[in-house]
Amino acid sequence: MAQAKKTQISMTVNGQPVEGLVEPRTLLIHFIRENLQLTGSHIGCETTHCGACTIDMDGMSVKSCTVFAVQAEGAEITTIEGIANPDGTLSVLQEGFRQMHGLQCGFCTPGMITRAHRLLQENPNPSEEEIRFGIAGNLCRCTGYQNIVKAIQYAAAKINGTEFKEAAE
């Protein structure tokens, strides 16, 4: 089949209205990284396994390598670039990842934080098991997850105004 006709799309990304002209086969992650130049969301496996490309779309965590940009017409999207506080300081989740050493190489981190952001919106006080189940779609090959779980627990404690206590290992 010949090159498909390009389609005009518009959506809101990190609070800003954006638009672009894309081929229907353009994946949302490519639109975000290449057209919008927001390269915080990473491309890991490209096969819906690793979660590095996770973004928030209309209140859902989505692997943006498995959505066509045209499917996101009219959507409200948040990427890792939109997670920090409006004044530019780190959000509690970002602070948690920093304080608890929730990353080593950092490749999975944008997806992890974006996913954890939605998890805490839905369940502000998750158990350790709920955190592990909730981030099961995000792979990290460095940390063994322990410090990522702690980082999310740190953020949950800050959100709930409770004291964060590190569990004994």
Partner: protein, 287 residues
């Protein structure tokens, strides 16, 4: 990992979607959540010239109780199933199974309709729908028709859907109050398809199995209804001898492929174990 080119269509009604599928013919595919189709397109195992996105059709997203049945619109996501009080109270096995499908991100996008209509033997919902005695509603150029799940699956990725038809809803008879249920799924890791899985819905009376239905996932070219295995436990107390008969009867109809999840012999072996575990757990929660 970029799919082949295609033209994108986003109709606003089922009638328009059917019309498009008829006009565009074999080279068009309906798009639901896309979490089976898009990966296939990236691998160029699917190269449709046209995608007809069903996301713009509002009335395909619903969970309603209709008398003694639950009707689920095809575009209802696994995440929406998990959030539904109706599903949790009337069809707890559906809630349990949805939790075992893929991972959170995939469950936000993946739909019930896509899962049952794709015909992938690895999908979890077909075996469950066989077990629950569900019907599917298909809408096509000649109107609606209803087909039982057990008549729907003909081979791997081969179903009773005719050209131009769209699966629009699933209708499930509500199992009796106090029924026992379990979905046992062996998988290598979260997100994987089943190495072997078994669904059981049963009722108990006076310590004996009164009714029983058993479905199998990823143990043949299609999901299977293990009728002889179910018959082997009806009227029994699920004693060891009856469980053995049931697992043997279930293994007799299994015909799994060998793949990264193990050779056929292994998958049949663990398939029997899934049947036994599901029977025991279902009986334990039955009242």
């Amino acid at each position: 990992m970029i799919p082949g080119p295609f033209t994108y269509h986003r109709p606003e009604s089922v009638a328009d979607a059917v019309k498009l599928l008829i006009e565009l013919g074999d080279e068009a595919r309906p798009l639901a959540g896309g979490h089976s189709l898009i990966p296939m397109m990236k691998l160029r195992l699917a190269t449709p010239d046209h995608l007809v996105d069903l996301a713009g059709i509002g009335d395909l997203k619903r969970i309603v109780r209709d008398g003694d049945r639950i009707v689920i619109g095809a575009m209802t996501t696994q995440h929406e199933l998990l959030a539904s009080e109706t599903i949790a109270s009337c069809l707890p096995i559906l809630h349990e199974t949805a939790l075992l499908i893929a991972d959170p991100q995939v469950r936000y996008r993946g739909t019930v309709g896509g899962n049952v209509a794709n015909g992938d033997p690895g999908n979890d919902m077909p075996g469950l729908m066989l077990t629950l005695g569900a019907d599917y509603t298909l809408e096509g150029p000649n109107g609606n028709r209803t087909i039982a799940a057990h008549e729907f699956y003909q081979g791997a990725y081969f179903t009773a859907i005719e050209p131009g038809e769209i699966l629009t809803s699933v209708s499930i008879p509500v199992p009796p109050a106090g029924h026992g249920h379990a979905y046992e799924k062996l998988k290598r890791k979260i997100g994987d398809y089943a190495t072997a899985a078994a669904a059981v819905v049963l009722t108990m009376a006076g310590g004996k199995v009164a009714t029983c239905s058993i479905g199998l996932t990823n143990l043949s070219e299609t999901a299977l209804l293990a009728e002889d295995a179910a018959a082997a436990v009806i009227g029994t107390t699920l004693d060891d001898a009856s469980l053995k008969k049931a697992t043997e009867a279930a293994r007799a109809i299994m015909n799994p492929a060998g793949d990264g999840r193990g050779p056929p012999e292994y998958r049949k072996h663990v398939g029997g174990i899934m049947v036994e575990r599901a029977l025991r757990r279902a009986a334990a929660v039955a009242r």
